[in-house]
């Protein structure tokens, strides 16, 4: 059984100081509200959408012990479905996003059902294979998806409220609640009886089975939930950009989000946000910096993180914090 966690002695203590329990979300919310004042609003939205994507992936990677290398399938297909609903039915965008997310979950059901039968490296490969098939469909079905050119001109309909529909600054605030709800949902899932079972499956699958848990079923549900949250993020992303590119379905998108999750810290949820922020900002800054070797930096950072800070940025910070905390305690 492959489980991607640290040795037990390093495992984070679940007990949290009550102060932190409120300070963290409050700080996070403030940061989310302030973000479009600090960075270009569409970039701010990219950060939050990708953060939810990374969190959804972490639900599988960090909390169930499954590395999916095919999550682009759900991100991208939801983006396309959201875009198509918005284009053809002109409904307010949250409704279209919801439709995309539901589609992602429906797609995830058969894929998850088959994939969870395998674990570890095999799971990664199988999800990759399925994602390639979805990519292929998006690529071939160009009447619907626009093929290589992408789905252009996705409208941003929102009850006729002009500023939201045309100005990305206001749109950010209209879309933010959807993404925050997604994050809250992830938090709830992790801290639910179901989440407890997921962690037990990650730590020791045979033992969980001996306790009577139908492990495959739990994994499938986790997979579908993760796909749903991914779809939510992908849908908002599509509406924000006003179009959907085929790259959203490409395996490199799956790789990018794994990168973000690992960079931020596996099994932390907050790490996804940190990872997405750092990655997007880095790409954004480098795009107009005159330095043209972004992968050189991303790749090196990634190697360093895997070699030296396996807990990721957030995980390392939290670990240090807790170490100091426990040292102070008698």
């Amino acid at each position: 059984m492959t489980v991607i966690t640290e040795a037990p002695a390093d495992a984070p203590a679940p007990a949290r100081t009550p102060a932190l329990r409120w300070i963290l979300p409050a700080a996070g919310l403030t940061a989310a509200l302030a973000l479009p004042w600090l960075v270009y609003p569409p970039v701010a939205l990219d950060i939050v959408a990708l953060a939810l994507f990374a969190i959804a992936l972490d639900l599988l990677l960090g909390y169930t012990g499954l590395l999916s290398f095919g999550h682009a399938a759900f991100w991208g297909s939801s983006a396309y479905v959201t875009g198509l609903i918005a284009t053809h039915y002109g409904v307010p965008f949250p409704l279209a996003v919801l439709g995309g997310a539901v589609f992602a979950m429906i797609l995830a059901l058969p894929i998850g059902y088959v994939s969870v039968r395998r674990s570890g490296i095999y799971f990664a490969m199988v999800t990759l294979a399925f994602a390639q098939m979805v990519y292929f469909i998006g690529y071939q079905w160009s009447d619907l998806t626009g093929g290589e050119n992408g789905l252009q001109g996705v409208p941003r309909s929102f009850f006729g409220i002009e500023p939201v529909e045309t100005n990305s600054f206001y749109f950010y605030y209209a879309a933010l609640p959807i993404l925050l709800c997604g994050m809250a949902a992830a938090w709830r899932i992790v801290h639910s009886p179901f989440g407890r079972v997921l962690v037990s499956i990650r730590d020791n699958t045979p033992r969980a089975r001996a306790l009577g848990y139908d492990v495959d079923r739990y994994k499938t549900i986790a997979f579908v939930l993760s796909a749903g949250l991914t779809g939510l993020a992908g849908g908002v992303f599509a509406i924000s950009h006003g179009f959907v590119a085929l790259t959203e379905l490409h395996w490199t998108t799956s790789g990018d989000v794994v990168l973000m999750t690992v960079l931020g810290g596996i099994g932390t949820l907050w790490g996804g946000i940190v990872g997405a922020f750092l990655t997007v900002m880095l790409a954004d800054q480098l795009a107009s910096s005159g330095f043209h070797g972004i992968d050189l930096i991303t790749g090196s950072v990634f190697i360093l993180v895997v070699l030296l800070f396996r807990r990721g940025v957030w995980g390392t910070v939290r670990h240090q914090w807790q170490r100091r905390g426990s040292a102070r305690r008698p």
């Binding site: 979300p25 919310l29 509200l33 004042w37 270009y40 569409p42 970039v43 990219d46 690529y139 071939q140 160009s142 626009g146 093929g147 290589e148 050119n149 992408g150 252009q152 001109g153 045309t166 100005n167 990305s168 600054f169 206001y170 605030y173 933010l176 609640p177 925050l180 709800c181 809250a184 992303f237 950009h241 006003g242 179009f243 590119a245 085929l246 790259t247 959203e248 790409a283 480098l286 795009a287 107009s288 005159g290 043209h292 070797g293 972004i294």
Partner: protein
């Protein structure tokens, strides 16, 4: 707890909305002729990926050359003194192109965006241009959708499109005796469009397309496809591949020995950098449409010498196209006396131009396609190469009226 958080979020949202309304975000509609008292030309292209050599960083230098030429020409009479050229890498990702275009218009003060390779990225940028009512001069993207179904007032296609490539190569090669064709194309929008255009052009010229074989994209192994294509004994094999796939295909075509059977290879889209990187030997004899070749006449050559001094390499047609687009834009600004997009467009539309790049050029008002004479070229044999980058021999000129579709046929309904 859930609902409490939601309520807090909602009130924060209202507050933020109010605040920002007061702040009045966004570029103000200043009264002067030039926003921020300067002109910003933004190059948005692939600075690191597969299209880097064909356009990339050297395009920025070409645009700077245009600015220098403009300033030298008008000196004190120039309507604007401060001209900036910025460069942004879209990494060939349409979503990045999309965000960056919107940021360039909104925050970067860009008056015009130039270049933008990859059709999907260019279409996204065209949409942003329309929304922001600023100019976009496409050079590197070839999709006819930009001047067809998805055309808009603020977007111009400067250098070429798939129709030109097909009509140039397909028609001319057929008229020169290559009557039986087999086409191999990458199975995506660009390849399919090219194949359709080629088939029409070939049929019109009296030839036949025996077979069209789709291939995956990207693809490395073309051996089977070539065997299949060769089995119907065509005069010409036409390939619609580009970049790495094209190199794969050409290498394997040469190795297949089809050349010895007298089968010619015609390439849908080829850039001089492709020949340079693979070596002239591999491509020798290949026919293709080149919208512009650095050594096609003295004027082009003079400019190419300057470019060589600037960059250390010879220009591709995309470099020259960007130079031309920037120069003509600056001329239009000079004529309009403002950077207001609508006023500049009024000066551009319908203008007949000749410059380093455009021969018999016309900036068509109906579909914003910039039409001009192009060339059918043949790759030289290694023995005929006299200097570096001396790779092409011009077979024939393709007049603008034949190379580009008539405006009525473009399917463009210029609205906004």
């Amino acid at each position: 707890m859930e609902s409490k958080r939601m309520r807090a979020g909602a009130s924060a949202l209202t507050m933020a909305l109010l605040l920002s309304a007061c702040a009045g975000a966004g570029p103000g509609g200043g009264g002067g002729a030039f926003t921020d008292d300067k002109l910003v030309l933004a190059v948005l292209n692939d600075q690191s990926g597969i299209y880097k050599d064909a356009s990339g960083p050297n395009t920025v230098k070409a645009v700077r050359m245009a600015v220098a030429d403009y300033q030298q020409k008008y000196g004190d009479k120039a309507v604007v003194t401060k001209i900036e050229v910025t460069s942004t890498d879209h990494q060939n990702k349409p979503d990045i192109a999309n965000t960056k275009a919107s940021e360039l218009y909104e925050r970067g003060g860009a008056d015009v965006i130039l270049d933008v390779p990859t059709s999907s990225a260019a279409l996204a940028v065209a949409n942003q241009a329309k929304n922001h009512k600023r100019l976009f001069l496409d050079v590197s993207a070839a999709t006819t959708a930009l001047t067809g179904a998805q055309c808009n007032k603020y977007t111009f296609q400067w250098a070429y499109n798939t129709y030109l490539l097909a009509n140039g190569t397909g028609k001319t090669v057929t008229q020169n005796g290559g009557r039986k064709w087999t086409i191999i194309y990458p199975d995506y929008e660009f390849g399919q469009n090219m194949t359709k255009s080629f088939t029409e052009a070939i049929t019109k010229a009296g030839g036949t397309v025996q077979e069209s074989i789709p291939t995956p994209f990207p693809n490395e192994n073309f051996a089977t496809f070539l065997t299949k294509a060769g089995s119907s004994a065509p005069d010409v094999i036409g390939t619609m591949h580009a970049g790495g796939d094209l190199i794969n295909l050409v290498k394997q075509f040469n190795e297949s020995g089809l050349k010895d059977d007298g089968v010619e290879l015609a390439v849908g889209l080829m850039l001089i950098n492709d020949i340079h990187s693979l070596g002239v030997e591999q491509f020798a004899g290949t026919l293709f449409t080149d919208p512009w070749y650095w050594n096609m006449d003295a004027e082009a050559r003079a400019w190419a010498d300057r470019f060589l001094a600037e960059t250390g390499t010879r220009p591709s047609f995309e470099h020259a196209g960007n130079y031309s687009a920037a120069l003509q834009y600056l001329e239009a600004v000079q004529a309009a006396g403002t950077d207001d997009a609508d006023a500049v467009i009024a000066k551009l539309e319908g203008k007949k131009v000749n410059d380093v790049f455009l021969r018999n050029g016309e900036i068509r008002a109906q579909d914003h396609s910039v039409v001009h004479d192009a060339n059918l070229a043949r790759v030289k044999k290694p023995g005929d190469v006299k200097e570096d980058w001396d790779y092409e021999e011009i077979v024939t000129k393709i007049p603008a009226a034949e190379g580009f579709p008539p405006a009525e046929a473009s399917g463009c309904a210029m609205t906004s």
